[in-house]
């Protein structure tokens, strides 16, 4: 690839409001970081509600938590960390401009994300069968405070549901990127869409890293 070719590719990819490709990349990256800050605050509202209610009803929350399938939760944590690895590799190959490898690792990331959602769906199904979905037919064995236990499961479904929604959106974004990558849109001079999609994907991962212990593991230290 000649120098003038790189230059023209660079100029094509710079939108009219920016002076340089570097400025455009800085703006995109900062924009994504700020978006992630808003996401922290968005999830933060629910983490706050969780913290308050858990401090009100520690025992009920512990008992409700122990009904979750920690093994599946742990497997899913590992699955999600693997997807972060493939995402990093996709970004890495985007920086190098290796078209086929970008596509490969984006698709791998999506597939592993799909596995996570599949396991999650199975867990939700289990909860449904066990009458652990908040509502009129809710029942948690051996728990005196049924209402408070429902509160735990309301938060469980709201938080994991919102997290799963973010995964679905993430997979949607990666699909678009994979198509664009296949068409050869990304080069060492222009790869920031893959880069900032990576930021988003890792963020969604990190949310899960907090959700897993707070939802699945809080009764582990309690006397049985």
């Amino acid at each position: 690839m000649s120098a003038s070719h790189i230059e023209s590719v660079e100029r094509l990819a710079v939108r009219e409001q920016f002076d340089t490709a570097e400025q455009q990349k800085d703006a995109a990256t900062l924009g994504m970081w700020i978006f992630l800050v808003t996401e922290v605050m968005f999830f933060g509202g629910m983490f706050c509600a969780y913290t308050v209610y858990r401090s009100f009803f520690p025992n009920t929350f512990g008992r409700a938590s122990s009904s979750l399938n920690a093994t599946l939760g742990a497997i899913n944590t590992a699955v999600l960390i693997c997807s972060s690895l493939t995402m990093v590799l996709a970004v890495h190959f985007a920086q190098l401009g290796r078209r086929k490898l970008i596509v490969l690792f984006l698709i791998l990331t999506m597939l592993i994300g799909g596995v996570f959602l599949g396991i999650k769906a199975y867990e939700w199904h289990e909860k449904f069968v066990e009458h652990h979905v908040p509502g009129p037919s809710f029942h948690l064995e051996g728990e005196a405070l049924q209402g408070q236990a429902q509160l735990f499961f309301t938060l469980y479904f709201a938080m994991t549901g919102l997290h799963a929604l973010h995964m679905v959106i993430g997979i949607g974004i990666l699909t678009v990127l994979a198509i664009q990558a296949w068409k050869g849109k990304f080069s060492p001079a222009y790869y920031s869409p893959v880069d900032i999609a990576g930021l988003y994907w890792h963020f969604v991962d990190i949310i899960w890293i907090f959700l897993f212990p707070l939802l699945y593991l809080i009764d582990r230290h309690m006397p049985k």
Binding site: Q17, F42, T154, A158
Partner: protein, 541 residues
Amino acid sequence: MITAAAEERQTYLNESYGIKSWLLTKDHKRIALLYLATITLFFFIGGIFATIIRIELLTPRGDLVSSETYNKMFTMHGVIMIFFFLIPSIPATLGNFFIPMMIGARDLAFPKINLLSWYLLVAGGLFAIFAMLAGGVDTGWTFYTPFSSSYSNTYVVATVVGVFIAGFSSILTGLNFIVTIHTMRAPGMTWFRLPLFVWAHYATSIIQVLGTPVLAITLTLVGVERIFHIGVFDPAYGGDPVLFQHLFWFYSHPAVYIMVLPAMGVLSELVSTFSKKQVFGYAFVAFSSVAIAILGFLVWGHHMFVSGQSAYASLVFSFLSYFVAIPSAIKVFNWTATLYKGSISYATPMLYAFGFIGLFTMGGLTGLYVAALGVDVHVTDTYFVVAHFHYIMVGGAIMGYLGGLHYWWPKMSGRMYPEGWAKLSALVIFLGFNLTFFPQFILGYLGMPRRYHVYPDEFQVLHVLSTAGASVLAVGYVIPLIYFIWSLRHGKMAGANPWGATGLEWKTPSPPPTHNFEETPVIRHEAYDYAALMEEEANVR
């Protein structure tokens, strides 16, 4: 010469025509005008509800509307005015239009996201309008649980969805501004050469980005609770309604600063331009905006002194609330000091600026009353509080908005508004405003509760005064609507810099070309450097 050239010259207004060229535009200036039209519509819709409220309160008995309808009137007045007018008002119109121009950029960093944020506001507004037409909502703009989640039999979910969507409009605007101010400044435009308008919007954007998501998730939880009948804030399940209040005010107190900080930014521009002096204590005014944004997040509990939160929490919130007075006072003192030995002119924008300083000071000082624990218990949920926040939001934010609109109108439209009419309406608004809301301080102090449409006979005189004032105020708001539209065709041509102002936005022709600047400007002077401006003009001659 300018007039003749303007007919030929390509501007952002005549660059293309047709509805599609507006609805699909990515030009921040056109999007600002889309916002301007939208929020003007919402302002007058919200005004209709205010009119019904004030007419009902003319007499001590409920003659015009039932109590249920009255509840819906003040709810929809609040929801529309706050979420669909005040929050987007200055940032989405004047900020959108002028931040890129002030920093020497061709557009915001993300023009498509900018357009998206307008569509989100419209979509949210449609939900709110649907809720109004379908039967209204009666929770108060605060959506307090458990009333909103369990008991209210009105269109809470549609309204909440509307506010949720409009919230994302606000988040995206804030995000766009922060990124733009960080990455798009022209060469030589250092942080401390930025106009104070930009600093104020930077602080506002921080609040929008940090606060709004919390409101979004809180309203989502209310919606979830309402739709699925599961307890999130419902005491029957062990849920805590006061938690809702905490989450709600975590956004909604800082939201007050989303409304008033941009107006403070406008004020700095107006006071400097119309006294031809550099703003006194530039760095203090700039940092006081940031200080207000930060402190604003630490005082939400002062809305909840009677909610049953712990007395110690109330004590701390009360104490911290007083700190907000410091940066606010810094601004007021510095604007006043800017006037000292300035060459002051009394053009319409400056009249609004004076109005702002006076009314904001009153609103701020009465804020100290309600931040004091003992006094607040006496005036909680009375007209004293209503008067206090209208002095900030109407006397402060709307005065700033109208001042800014008059100031930049020549740049936006290329034409002058009629100065005589404008001065008259500024005066009418000032008098009407005070007549409307000053009696409400007395009413509240005497014990008139807010959100009631019947009241004891002895309050009638003050209520009649207030309603009379509201009528005057309404006239004051309609006059500018008429003459602004009139001026689009018949106003005098403005020229590039009718006020002799220093900002970069005045260095382009009026109205500006699509890309704002022929070439990226290079900045060599501090903000508000009138000596440098005069030198430049002398060189041109």
